[in-house]
Each structure stands twice: as C-alpha cells, then as structure tokens.
Symmetry: C2
Subunit: 167 residues, 2 copies
C-alpha cells in the first residue's frame, strides 16, 4: 500500500474541508468574524466565503500570491509576518473571532512546531468564548480542549479546539 | 450546495490520483519510461515514484521549486519551457514513454487551451504505441481515443487517452 506525498496531501486537504464544514454548523449561533491565517492560492478562503457569506473574513498573509478572484479587499487583508500582524489584531478585526483557521504546515517540521507553539497563545485574545480553532498543526494542545473530529478525519491529520473551557 | 475552489481542487486531485493508479495497472506490460510535465511541489512525482519504482521518470519543469526530497536527479530533469524541452526530448529520455502525465492547468483558461493544443501533437513522438496520456486538460481529443475513466472520476475533470489507434 503506497502512501505518497500526494496521498498524504489529499488526506489532509479533505480533512481540512471536513473540519471547516463541521465548524460552520457548530458556530452558527456564535457571533464574530472569521480569521484565516495564510491565504496561499486562495482556495480555502473561497471555501470560507461560501460557508460564511454573512461574516467578515480576515486573512493574514505575508506574500499575497492568490488567484485574483480570491484576494480579500484591503480592509480584510492583514499583510505581514504572523508574528507582527497577529498581536494586536483584535483592534483591526473589531471583535473576537468565532472561527480561526490556520493552515500553517510546511515541509520544515521544526519551524512548524516553533510557529505553532507561539501561535496558540497569540491567538487567544482573538477567539471569542466558544470559538473554534482549526489547524493542520497541533497549536492548542496546552490551551484549549480538543473538539471531536468529523468521523472521516483520522486523529493527527487535522486539529480542532474549542476556545471555551479556559476562559 | 457549495462548490468552492477548494471543492473543485479536491475533486481534481482525487481524479488525478485515481487516473494515475488506474494507469499503473494498464501499462504494466508495456515498456518505456514515465514522463511528468510539471514538477510543482513534487507530490505527484513522489506518487509516480511509488507507483513505478522500476521505471525511469523524466520530469519537465521550468522553475524547479519542489520539496528537496521530490526533485529528480539532473539526468531525469528537463529544465526549461515545455515549448523548448518537449520537441526533441526523445533523444534525452531514450525510448518512447509508456505513460505521459501533464498537470498543466492554470487559472488562465485561454493560456491552458493554447498550451494543450500545442502540447498534444508535440507529445506524439514521445508516446510508445499503447501508452497512456493523462492530463487535467483536454490535450488529445483530436489525436487519440479516450480511455475509459475510473468510475469515480466525472467526465471533464481529468482526461485519459490511449496512444494506440492512430499509430
């Protein structure tokens, strides 16, 4: 049984979509904007727009290189390194978020672990009580209780936390 | 029912994998190397390595930017624009290919159609009789009979041709 990088990628991106779709139902009664960490090519942003047409979606990205149709307007785009843009972002996004999604993984596991360790605590002020935090890396294990994953998502492929118990 | 760019992408990449996996069985009795047009991040190349451990895999790529583990050695990497590297490539790859895969689509439909129209005929000398040509764009409709798609791949999502009837 082969398990190529293509297989791993398909598993992860399907898990991402399943978690986002699940989250949409779970936060339906919660107010607050959506936060997307990393725009990439804009595919996930486009999915978020479809899932949350009535919410503000704020995207944090250092190097904007997405499909032109998938770039937020300047009011919703926080350009720069996460370490610069995430602290203090609450003033910019106006209200704590109902959903924070961070597809932060790279091929560099050490860099990813360092970023995740920094990012979890940095995101706390941006999450409203009851918010969901979703990521492809374990960034909230010490901060938030895990939210049950969709049935077809294997543990460790994607991560969901609920920003509630510790507030 | 939403159909975001994320949904479309997942559909396409799953179709790609299904077609490649199907192709591996279909060409098992055919000799010849594998040709991959476009390295990208190297995920599909990694899948091809797993599917075809005993075959030479030649990759055509203009701007090599893949994961370091997923870059072919210089003997198997044809750097440059397809329009420069594909014509005359037979001398380089040594024998006509048993499988040619081209994930050539971009966000620019006009550019894609132009490339596909050029690429199909340009690939003919590289395909051994009976070879399969797979692509995310219709590049062989005027050249080769279509090969039946795997059951879970919808028509138009991915394309498979058999380089046999017209030889």
């Amino acid at each position: 049984m082969i398990d190529s990088r293509l297989d791993q990628f398909i598993r992860r991106i399907k898990a991402q979509r399943a978690c986002l779709n699940r989250a949409a139902g779970l936060i339906s009664s919660l107010s607050g904007p959506i936060v997307e960490l990393g725009l990439g090519n804009g595919r996930t942003y486009d999915h978020l727009r479809e899932l949350f047409p009535a919410r503000d979606i704020y995207v944090f990205e250092r190097d904007v290189a997405a499909h032109p149709d998938c770039i937020p307007d300047d009011a919703h785009l926080l350009r720069g390194d996460f370490t610069k843009t995430v602290p203090g972002a609450l003033a910019r996004i106006g209200a704590p978020a109902a959903l924070i999604h961070g597809d932060i993984g790279s091929a560099d596991a050490a860099r990813d672990a360092e970023l995740a360790a920094w990012l979890g605590p940095a995101l706390r002020p941006l999450a409203t009580p009851g918010a969901l935090i979703l990521s492809d890396r374990a960034l909230g294990d010490a901060l938030w209780p895990p939210e049950p994953l969709p049935r077809d998502v294997a543990p460790g492929v994607y991560f969901m936390y609920r920003a509630v118990a510790l507030y």
